[in-house]
Amino acid sequence: MINLAVRDILHNWGKFIFTGIGLGLLIGVTLTMAGVYRGLVDDGRVLIDTSGADLWVVQQDTLGPYAEPSSVPDDLWRSVRTIPGVAQAANVTYLTMQVRKEDEDVRVMVAGIAAGGPGTPGWPPHLVAGRQITRSHYEAVADIATGFRLGDRLKIRRNHYTVVGLTRRMVSSSGDPMVFIPLKDAQEAQFLKDNDAILMQRRRTRANPTFSFPGKPDLPDAIITLQTANNYVNAILIRIRPEFTLEEVAEPIRRWKRLTVYDRVQMEDILVGKLIATSAEQIGLFLIILAIVSAAIVAFIIYTLTMDKIREIAVLKLIGTRNRTIAGMILQQSLMLGVIGFVVGKISATFAAPLFPKYVLLIPIDSMLGFLAVLVICILSSIVAIRMALKIDPAEAIG
């Protein structure tokens, strides 16, 4: 039996292909939007996975260190380290900032990592070039997405750092590439003021009568030192011993240290469920709108193609063609349009994804769901045209 749908498409292939390409670009945008959402989620998960931590110890009643500011004393890690079940504990400080790269700024998340070595929580787990930080100051490991190369000099505040290692896919929850520097440098950078501000602060402190005690001339200097020093970190990352459960380690820290402790699941919930929730809703709404627009376009195209064939359909009905054959022809055309559109959309999304400044993650399950959604949309969109075709009176062929 002749496949009427295929024959019609082959006859009008130009119209069909161009319509399919137009629809495909729309589907491509839809798939890319889904990829943007997946990228956001993946960025959050990558941050958690690459931190190497099982538990995050943060300031009490905060959602730190990624979703909210958190400060814990930088010597607290020693007592945390003594709690049963803690295998490793390391301070970490995060600050998102613009880093000077030659004549331009690069937005990065600077991570201050505690002294240690590869495998210490907070350290980049793998390098693609160079080496890990071995000096206590002015060395950096940068994500390759920053654009830095080995040996490059980058400027954070007023200090210069030499890039000694490059890593890959180390990003913040908002997708900014990371730069790792020694913890002390990061602590300093967090609250480092410019020279004029420091001089002004010293003048104000010395002039403050509260700090002028007779016989204690060094008191203002001691206060100034305290003001300029930063003895806090954002979080303590903990790796636990395998024989302990997360809760067995977290519970004493919460009780005795008056701190908040999150495990990976809770941290993922904070990052994915809270930090990017609004973005996810926004993208979700976009996806719904794009799906509706796609459905409207497919419905309009199929309806128009069917309207163009009223006389032929009347003839087909007159000569005894079954209604289901005519409905099948329209449905097949709608589905073929969807398939062409999906193929074009998938290809365009695949090629467009790397061009986006933030990570776009196209995963097979999204493509499969997208394909099923396209098929459902095409089936629903063809209903109007099928209803119209079935209403065509075969008498129209006679005149």
Partner: protein, 240 residues
């Protein structure tokens, strides 16, 4: 009286109800024997198309009885259940315009009907090619309708009407778009096919060139038919 061919008894068709009712056909009687080609002539609005639609099982008559090839399709309100299959298997249509399916070539336009009836693709195409050869358009078998001339399109349309070897063919102004020579050729083809396949053919026409070729003619005016013998000799009695 034989029920083979076409037999219409007291066929009426009313459109509308009450005071707005209009009778398009009034107690029409008609009989066309197998192998016979009959002309149906009348001015615009006389009821030709309505009669053709009733015979083609496209619209239901209000009353009367219609029999096609020994099968009653309408009988005073009763109608055959599967009219679609009846149209496919027992009625061939030839229209004023060929109305070929634009995305099928000449062969497949003709072969589609037997395929719809369940004939294998190869057999359907074989039958189509035989008919196209009989109608002298086999050299255009692979051409798309847009590539065919008006005459070629009409011959392909005739082939489509004949391919299932229906006992009845309804032709609506089949020669309207053709010149005299081609119009007469089409009528010759219909006559040949009628004799060859024992087909009863009704040709609705305005075409003065072909009217003399019919042995019997039905005139229709205001929904009423009168039968007339060929070669200008009219019967005295109306057909109802």
């Amino acid at each position: 009286m034989s029920n083979r061919g076409i037999r219409i008894e007291n066929l009426s068709k009313r459109f509308g109800k009450g005071e707005a009712a209009v009778f398009a056909l009034k107690n029409v009687n008609m009989q066309v024997a197998p192998g016979e080609v009959v002309g149906l002539i009348g001015p615009s609005g006389s009821g030709k198309s309505t009669l053709l639609k009733c015979l083609g099982a496209v619209i239901d008559p209000t009353s009367g009885r219609t029999t096609l090839d020994n099968e009653t399709i309408f009988d005073n309100g009763w109608k055959l259940r599967d009219l679609r299959a009846l149209r496919r298997d027992k009625i061939g249509f030839v229209f004023q315009a060929p109305y070929l399916i634009p995305f099928l070539d000449a062969t497949d336009n003709v072969a589609l009907l037997p395929m719809l009836a369940g004939v294998s693709d190869d057999e359907a195409r074989k039958r189509a090619l035989e008919l196209l050869a009989a109608l002298d358009v086999q050299h255009r078998a692979r051409a798309m309708p847009a590539q065919l001339s008006g005459g070629e399109q009409q011959r392909v349309a005739i082939a489509r009407g004949l391919v299932n070897r229906p006992p009845v063919i309804l032709a609506d102004e089949p020669t309207a778009p053709l010149d005299s020579q081609r119009a007469l050729a089409v009528i010759r083809i219909l006559n040949t096919m009628a004799r060859q396949f024992e087909t009863a053919i009704i040709v609705v026409t305005h075409d003065e060139k072909i009217i003399p070729t019919f042995k019997r003619i039905y005139h229709i005016r205001d929904g009423v038919t009168h039968e007339e013998a060929g070669e200008g000799r009219s019967t005295d009695s109306p057909s109802h």
